[in-house]
Symmetry: C2
């Protein structure tokens, strides 16, 4: 699917995205004061969109100066308007998630959130017409299982006992998330336009939608919390700025992945990031690791191996591979016959 040269850069970008996304989770938790966010989360998203827009415009300008011939920019409105859609989906999904959380408990919310792995796979197939082998489908199902297993909390409240509306909003939220991913991939790959030009359009609409959304939220509550523009950085601390940094970087990395790799790479990177976050949280906050987290990590690793290992490596017999990636079954015999 990918050219050999592209494959190693994809691996690096996906690895960085995993680390940045997991840091984002940790920084977000760290930015809480007494268990509460003292800032308006919407302003963080807006700041990140602004940063990404400036970054992209700066690089686009540089590209236009350095190699004006090879920098392609499609400017007709029909193409530009396509970049409006991801921001619109993002806004819609925000509202659906809010409704979703009203019907389900946080644990089910987290578990059902993994359905975006399935929805991305299905929409990748249906919308982008990309065919996956049976083995890759099985791998995606296993990624979903691994992510869910790691979050299992059988104690206390019953998981998955929400009213039917909860599941419907969960499905809708997952579908929107999957659609946002494959749609972005579609517009990024539609033509050979400069990545920076495509990003600039994407983030321009992102900034607009976020400005409208922030204002709308304040209007909705009759300016009870004041107007965001008056105190945009209210409640910010060091961690909040780090969240802005990671949010901006992950956005830029995802754009790159959508143009040069695909939505499935993104799904793997973010799912792995979720697991890394859980492990780091345990290390940072001195909790004991759970068996379900270990099982989830093993399953997700097996899934990754199945999806991305080359055909020859998967069917290589153990004589040739003395060390197994999964680390559980180690084959140490050197010389053997079939």
């Amino acid at each position: 699917m990918l050219a050999p040269g592209k494959k190693s850069s994809t691996l690096i970008v996906a690895g960085i995205l995993t680390l940045v996304t997991s840091s984002q989770g940790i920084f977000t938790t760290a930015s809480k004061v007494d268990g509460h966010y003292e800032y308006n989360f919407g302003t963080i998203v807006l700041l990140a969109e602004l940063f990404k827009l400036c970054f992209s415009l700066y690089n686009l300008r540089r590209e236009l100066i350095l190699k004006p011939e090879s920098t392609q920019m499609t400017k007709d409105w029909r193409t530009v308007s396509l970049f409006l859609v991801p921001s619109a989906i993002y806004l819609a999904q925000n509202n659906v998630q809010f409704l979703f959380l009203k019907y389900v408990d946080p644990s089910s919310y987290q578990v059902l959130g993994n359905l975006k792995i399935a929805s991305t796979g299905i929409l990748f197939r249906l919308f982008l017409k990309r065919r996956l082998s049976t083995l890759k489908w099985v791998a995606l199902v296993l990624l979903l299982i691994g992510a869910t297993t790691s979050q299992l909390d059988t104690c206390g409240h019953k998981v998955l006992s929400a009213p039917i509306q909860g599941y419907l909003f969960g499905l809708l939220s997952a579908s929107l998330s999957g659609f946002a991913a494959v749609y972005t991939e579609y517009i990024m790959k539609k033509n050979n336009d400069s990545l920076y030009w495509q990003n600039a359009q994407l983030y321009f609409f992102g900034v607009c939608f976020n400005l409208i959304n922030l204002t709308y939220q304040d209007v909705r509550v009759g300016f009870n919390n004041g107007f965001w523009l008056m105190t945009p950085f209210h409640g910010y601390n060091m961690w909040t700025y780090l969240v802005v940094c990671t949010l901006s970087s992950s956005g830029l990395l995802v754009s790159w992945i959508m143009k040069y790799a695909d939505s499935i790479v993104k799904v793997y990177a973010t799912s792995m990031a979720m697991l890394v976050t859980m492990v780091v949280s345990i290390l940072l906050f001195g909790q004991t690791p759970t068996l379900q987290l270990m099982l989830g990590i093993l399953t997700a690793t097996a899934s990754l191996q199945m999806y991305y290992m080359s055909h020859d490596d998967l069917f290589m017999h153990s004589k040739d591979s003395n060390l197994m990636l999964t680390g559980v079954l180690v084959d140490s015999a050197k010389d053997s016959k079939s």
Copy 2:
């Protein structure tokens, strides 16, 4: 690995073994009276060994009458003595499991019991020198994960917090279990002797060892519970006889699998049986199915598919397969391009 003709009969035998083994679990539970076994479990094992011996001798005799030329029987002591070993391992394992249970809680006991999947795979590779592809190793790890996930009980007691002795006995028990399997496969395939002749030797030693063990157990406690031979069927009920039937049938089916298929088929059949038993128990006893059971079943199914699906089917693209076995991801698009 298997001839195409043998493949379908292996599938049937493995399927029957799965059903028989899961019935065995349910019958064993049903044979309890007020939550206790009123009979001596050792006598059940002895009865089953006796039944299998008679069955094998009867069929051996028939075979010798019907086709005397093709019925091969190696009778030298060196070969016969090999059949002594599985019974000896079985006895040893019984004692190790007893010690194992002394150190760990029942939940950890169950979870650690799944290590026999790994030990069978490793010994299959080391002892029988059979090479497995990376994909098959990953499949075995996933079977282990699926079995463990289904048993997850994060509530109440802490899983896997046993003293180190517990883990060592668990490892020893798993190793013995794996070794018994691959050793039996080795002796069954060593020559072209009649399966019934091989069974007769296996079960003859089984009867001997069980007679000795039952008597030893009574001697050990100074005949406080009487002598087993005086009241061999004490406390038996209808379910107890059904346990004898299923125990005998599963033994004969495993022998067949060891001669004509392999230890890994047995591991899959018994692991799947464990999952079937859990589902049937839920249906029979009106419990609500847990999320971890569903995840475990999905993982084990994915593993089965990876291990046994043909190379071409695994790499077939979704255009050709409209229905996925796993049932989660369904691809309904008919006409598409790559």
